[in-house]
């Protein structure tokens, strides 16, 4: 990666990063880095990541960052924001943390309109633990716990987070889904999410992402799964509410 392409707020000492080759986390974090740079927020941001693959971002940036427990990143950032409203609180997690074990925190924070920015990476699997079904696993998709394909009669349909929250958020809150296939658009979405927090409201951005390690896909099949199957099921747009 050239000097120019690395966001200023990235911690260069921890690059190259430790995500798997082909993982989308690096792109989401690049979009976040660019968004923070452009808004000149590096001095204000406190970043917290979940456990799961997102934990590998614990020292990714130059701003204060901490790693929490599975699903508990949102309450940590809510408490931090309550204690110090000048900070810009960014909670970063995967789909298991945000939509499964920590869903009560996500929904309750959205209901309260807590001014935090939540970025959730949807790669359709629990990746760090070896590729189990996530709330976002697509119908028919094979994982370690759906070896014959996800059966929606048994396990239900994939959870659409921003659409779920659309029913409970404040009118001024921000809900969107982006994709690592369009990093600049994702950056703009994250910027809106950060600006929404600064106006005192809750912001939630889901980023569609890739996991070739657990999908067991080559580059072409990885990109195809993201751009076709995932993008067909999950609308990448600002979600009206």
């Amino acid at each position: 990666m050239s000097e120019l392409s690395m966001p200023r707020c990235w911690n260069r000492e921890t690059k190259p990063h430790s995500f798997c080759p082909g993982c989308g986390h690096g792109l989401v974090l690049k979009a976040l880095g660019m968004a923070v740079d452009e808004l000149e927020l590096a001095e204000q941001v406190t970043f917290a990541c979940d456990i799961g693959c997102s934990l590998l971002a614990w020292n990714f940036f130059n701003f204060p960052s901490l790693q929490t427990h599975h699903g508990r990143t949102i309450p940590v950032m809510v408490g931090l924001k309550k204690a110090d409203s000048k900070r810009v609180a960014v909670a970063y997690m995967g789909d298991g943390g945000g939509y499964s074990i920590g869903l009560q925190h996500l929904v309750s924070t959205a209901v309260r309109d807590d001014p935090v920015t939540v970025i959730l990476v949807n790669n359709t699997v629990y990746a760090m633990t070896g590729g189990q079904m996530a709330p976002t696993t697509l119908p028919g998709q094979k994982t370690e716990t759906t070896p014959f394909g996800r059966d929606e009669a048994e396990t239900g349909f994939p959870l659409k987070g921003p659409e779920l929250l659309a029913g409970v958020v404040h009118p001024e809150a921000y809900l969107a889904r982006g994709t690592v296939a369009q990093v600049l658009r994702l950056k703009k979405t994250i910027q809106k999410g950060l600006e929404t927090q600064r106006k005192g409201h809750f912001a939630f951005i889901e980023a569609l992402s890739t996991c070739p390690t657990n999908w067991r896909t080559n580059a072409a099949a990885t990109w195809s799964f993201l751009e076709r199957e995932m993008s067909d099921y999950y609308q990448t747009a600002e979600i009206p509410h």
Binding site: F63, S65, R72, K82, D84
Partner: protein
Amino acid sequence: MEKAVRKERRVFMTGNEVVAWAALAAGAVHMFGYPITPQNEIMHYWRRLAPEYGRGFLQTEDELSAGFTAIGAIIAGKAAFSATAGPGTILFQEPLSMAEMMRLPLVLVVQQRGGPSTATVIYSQQEVTLACFGGNGEGMRLVYSTASHQELYDYTIKAFHHAWSYRFPTLVLGDGYQAKMREALIIYDPAERGWEAIPAEPILGPERIQGGGRPLLHLRNAFSVEEELAEVLREHLDDFARAAPELVEYEFTGEPGAEILVAAHGIVGRAARAAVEELRAEGRPVNFFRAITLRPFPEEALLEALRISGGAMLVVESAVGQFGRMARLAVAGEPLRSFKTLYRPGVGIAAEEIKEAVLA
């Protein structure tokens, strides 16, 4: 932030009200709470009083959130706390374990109720093991067990100071009887008793300079290899062991040559003290020991008390050996003449019963 208690005064309050006033007086800034009986009125009083003194409150979606929001506020440098009981104490083990690993001064007041499960909302001393060793680690917490409303006030204040000074999560144990019962006590401005402001500061950020003059910008709980974790834990365990002699507290009354030592903690300690006083008045040489800190445990003091009590001990508690195991372990190397127990899980114990157990 306005002082909540300026002048020393005598009051007559429930234990829950006492805790709210103590946290206000100590200078706690935020409470994060979730309803569970018998601690609810701590939240109620705090919520009503907090705006008057510039403090914050959030009713969270569960105890996990109460613990982790408190942790977030603590990371931002504010003294934050919560209160819980029973199944709530189970859920609190998750934030407490993070606080142990990251050395975060999370303060939690536990008004013990009957267990296991939802059991009773009334009373027990059954949350001792959970309070002391409930995490997936080594029990690096400070745990105070209080025996009166005065102690609830004193030790809640102390909990904030010691949590922030020693950087271990700190629990104050009361119980449902204390929570709901009214009792007289003196409330005071902690500054007048030598407690300066809680030494709270941001845990994470450019202002925190660590070894090598580098700002502390990154905190984690997950380590790549066993040795890396072992190194961090060694430091924490050493800190805990070093702090223990400064932290242990207990009450002992007795004389050499006694026939037995009665050991207890919390409000059962009051019944035990009364029993011992009556027995002594009747001419029976009986000694009394009450642990105030359960973590760190006053091991040496108990051993010494046992030695001058002829090697005989009666442990009394409203649980089945949660305190007793710690007491027995503390004197494990000592030859015992007798080790008797009076265990009443989830049930109160009167002085008469303790007297009978001594005489049996």
